[in-house]
Amino acid sequence: MIVLQTYKIGICFITSWLVLAFGVPFTFTPWGFVSGLFMVPGGTAGYFAVRNAGLAVSQGIWSSLKVLVAFGWGIFVFQEPVRSKFGTGVAVAFMMAGLAGMSYFAAPSRKQEEGNDDDDDEHDVEREDNFAMTAGEPLLSMARSMTRNDSLSTLSDAESLFTSPQPSNQEEEVVLGCLNHFQLGVLGAIIDGAYGGSVFVPMHYARSTDTQGLAFVLSFAIGCSTVVSVIWVLRFLFYVQRTQSFSEGFQSLPSFHITTIGPSAVLAGLIWSVGNVSAIFSVARLGQGVGYSIVQSQLLVAGLWGVFYYREIRGRRVVTSWFLFACVTVMGILLLSLEHVPEIA
């Protein structure tokens, strides 16, 4: 997970300097660090959520919560102008319902239920991996691949909790305070949703300087890179503490697999960076409430990859239901755009 995060954030850091070529002056605000503090731990919490509460419930919670949090920041905290708060609330409710529905019908259990033409376990795992990737979160796929190799397959167990009325002992086991595995996973998804919906909030507080809009890209990239670096250091210290040796601790750090996944991960990082710059620009132009909420419809695009390219979402009923909720999401986006009040130049 940290490897792919490093590729993503590293490419973001390198490409962010390109904004200087477009006449954006170099400025830096410490609020970029705050954005990084929201983004990187948020993603980690999402990973934690998938491992403990399962993919469908985690993604359903965090994707709809991100919209709600962004809406809350934009409309109630920043008082961004909209035609009607009630109308905007309805639009956000449509988006949340649509995103949650899409997550639900794209879940592996739904696919297996309808498209059970190949029953062997290997194919099932492969299809689950495919879904994880098209969901736009490589870390989810990482969770899957690790589960396959991990004798303590907490992810599979946590997912069975969703389909089985009798939870296993492991999920019932209290692991932190009064929380068991599943509750901890739900908490992780909530943290991811709350943090993810707040990633560009610091940009609002940097508005008094020249660091808003595209100029924030640099601060954001520097902030995120710093946070990822700190995580590497923490991880290194974790291994040092475990092995009682600096060299062994260093050697225990994960490989970057440069020759195998390097080119793919760099390309993924480039695409993500384009999305990141566009999202920052969108939030600068449309505001936190409308702009960032619309950006969260990325689940729609990821799902379309799953339906048309990878053919992971199978079965007429499941695909129809998925498209129905996709339409609800699009309706929410249209309603939200109708509520937006353009700034007078």
Binding site: I2, V77, M146, N149, F281, V301
Partner: protein, 80 residues
């Protein structure tokens, strides 16, 4: 009336949606899927007691950040 800036904003939103929804596609290449990036390592860290403590501290720090931002905002609004 929709301004040009708003239209650019919507265009950027669409680009962001497409990019965020597609960035994982290259990682689905066969070469990438054959290997396990970071096998077990992150799993062990995440499941460890130390990591849970770190997560707990991060949660507390972030919560404090929220509170500070809310406090500053209330002070700022109050001053106005």
């Amino acid at each position: 009336m929709t301004t040009l800036g708003t239209l650019y904003g919507y265009a950027a939103s669409i680009v962001a949606c497409v990019a965020f929804g597609s960035f994982a596609v290259p990682i689905k290449s066969e070469a990438a899927r054959r290997i396990d990036v970071d096998p077990l390592g992150t799993s062990n860290c995440l499941q460890s007691f130390v990591f849970r403590r770190i997560l707990f501290v991060l949660w507390k720090v972030s919560h404090s950040l929220y509170c500070i931002v809310a406090l500053l905002r209330s002070l700022f609004v109050g001053a106005l």
